[in-house]
């Protein structure tokens, strides 16, 4: 079969057909993978909650406090994202707060963390949920890759300044990944605000 000539009609219809077929194919794969992706995201969240707070026997996903984070932009305040605060309870007494927090200051966009607080405000553990940092450098925020996130454990933000040392705080930054370290601190500080908010809420009840 001879090659088609590059007339306007030929070009138009070729591109149209190719785009249509690939759109159909992509929609099919998207629909097929939608529920596995949701399941895996849910599973990861559950695992992260389990890791960051002490024993609990309620279902924290159903006891979630949402705290919208607003940022001033000009005269308007826009909602950046929502902090999700999960309460872990053992026989109705709170054993810990798992706070899903974020920072938009990462080297390649958003970083999402799960920070676990004990009821007295001490940080128990921090888990990374989502990140796009440079492999081999910024991804040292993972516990398995370096000790960076371990330095927060057992610290109370009241007397442990969550800023990297360059900015006058107490946190040792990851070598060659200061921006990532700053973003990490930003997310943890935000989580602490969320903790205070949840604490006040549960005290007033």
């Amino acid at each position: 079969m001879a090659k088609k000539e590059s007339t306007l009609n030929n070009m138009f219809f070729t591109l149209l057909i190719i785009s249509l077929i690939s759109t159909a194919l992509l929609s099919f794969v998207y629909i097929k993978t939608k529920s596995p992706i949701e399941k895996v995201t849910e599973l990861k969240k559950n695992l992260a909650i389990k890791k960051v707070i002490p024993e609990f026997n309620n279902s924290p996903i159903n006891e979630c406090i949402k705290l919208p984070i607003k940022q001033l932009k000009g005269n308007d305040s826009i909602t950046l994202d929502t902090l999700k605060i999960y309460l872990g309870k053992l026989n109705d007494s709170i054993t810990g707060y798992a706070i899903e927090t974020f920072s938009n200051e990462g080297f390649s966009g958003k970083i999402k963390l799960m920070v676990g607080f004990l009821p007295d405000g001490i940080i128990k553990t921090i888990e990374v949920i989502e990140q796009n940092e440079t492999p081999g450098l910024g991804d040292k925020i993972y516990k398995t890759k370096s000790k960076f996130s371990l330095q927060f454990e057992g610290k109370n933000p009241q007397n442990f300044k969550i800023f990297v040392k360059k900015d006058g705080g107490d946190v040792d930054a990851i070598t060659a990944a200061t921006i990532t370290s700053r973003a990490f601190c930003d997310a943890v500080r935000r989580a602490y605000d969320g903790f205070n908010y949840a604490k006040k809420l549960s005290n007033s009840n």
């Binding site: 000539e5 070009m11 190719i18 993978t33 990140q131 492999p135 450098l137």
Partner: protein, 206 residues
């Protein structure tokens, strides 16, 4: 016989990294550890084989002037499919909380679209050859790419992180330079030199 040659050329004679020196961005970006390199290589191989097959079928109907955009749409479709599949099925964290493969490769998967090897094979090979040769060409080149990334990743991981396949055998940090981009260039330079030496010997004997 011809198909065997077609397959093996991707490893030495036309290795995309060491000989053609194509697709440097993902090669240097994702080869910070052996497993990352392997994952990236295999994902690229899948895209290469699939896009080569499809392009070798449809190339005869595509008008010359719109062939590049058409190829890009085909490639982008397959990359998005890989991205979705990996997000769904390689996204479970390891038993000790290691990040999943999808988390590790992060932003590099969508970047397969702009990997010039994929487009180069479509333009230079698949559009002029039949389905079977194109599929074999894609597989050979893809596995050659995977091999190169795995080699590059292993060396960088060994020197930069003091570990082999994520198993640390010395507690301390390695030479950080090798995890960074300059280390990738240095390692690549030495590897290309070694490969040249080997291939020169092989083809002299023929």
């Amino acid at each position: 016989m011809n198909q065997i040659k077609n397959f093996t050329k991707g490893f030495l004679k036309e290795n995309p990294i060491f000989v053609l020196v194509l697709g440097m961005c993902p090669a240097l970006g994702t080869s910070s550890s052996a497993l990352n390199g392997l994952g990236m290589g295999l994902a690229t191989t899948f895209v290469l084989v699939m896009s080569n097959i499809v392009i070798s079928i449809i190339a005869r109907w595509i008008p010359n002037k719109v062939r590049i955009p058409s190829y890009i749409v085909v490639i982008a479709t397959f990359v998005s499919i890989v991205d979705l599949l990996m997000k769904a099925y390689t996204n479970t964290p390891g038993p000790n909380g290691e990040p999943s493969l999808y988390d590790q490769l992060g932003i590099f998967i969508p970047l397969i679209v702009v990997n010039c090897i994929v487009l180069a094979r479509a333009e230079a090979f698949a559009s002029k050859n039949d389905i079977i040769s194109s599929a074999i060409d894609g597989l050979g080149i893809g596995l050659g790419f995977t091999m190169a990334l795995f080699l590059l990743g292993s060396i960088r991981e060994l020197l930069g992180n003091m570990s082999i396949l994520n198993h640390k055998f010395i507690k301390d940090d390695g030479i950080l330079l090798f995890v960074l981009a300059p280390g990738a260039f240095i390692t690549l330079g030495f590897l290309i030199a070694i490969m040249r030496k080997i291939t020169a010997k092989i083809y002299k004997n023929k």
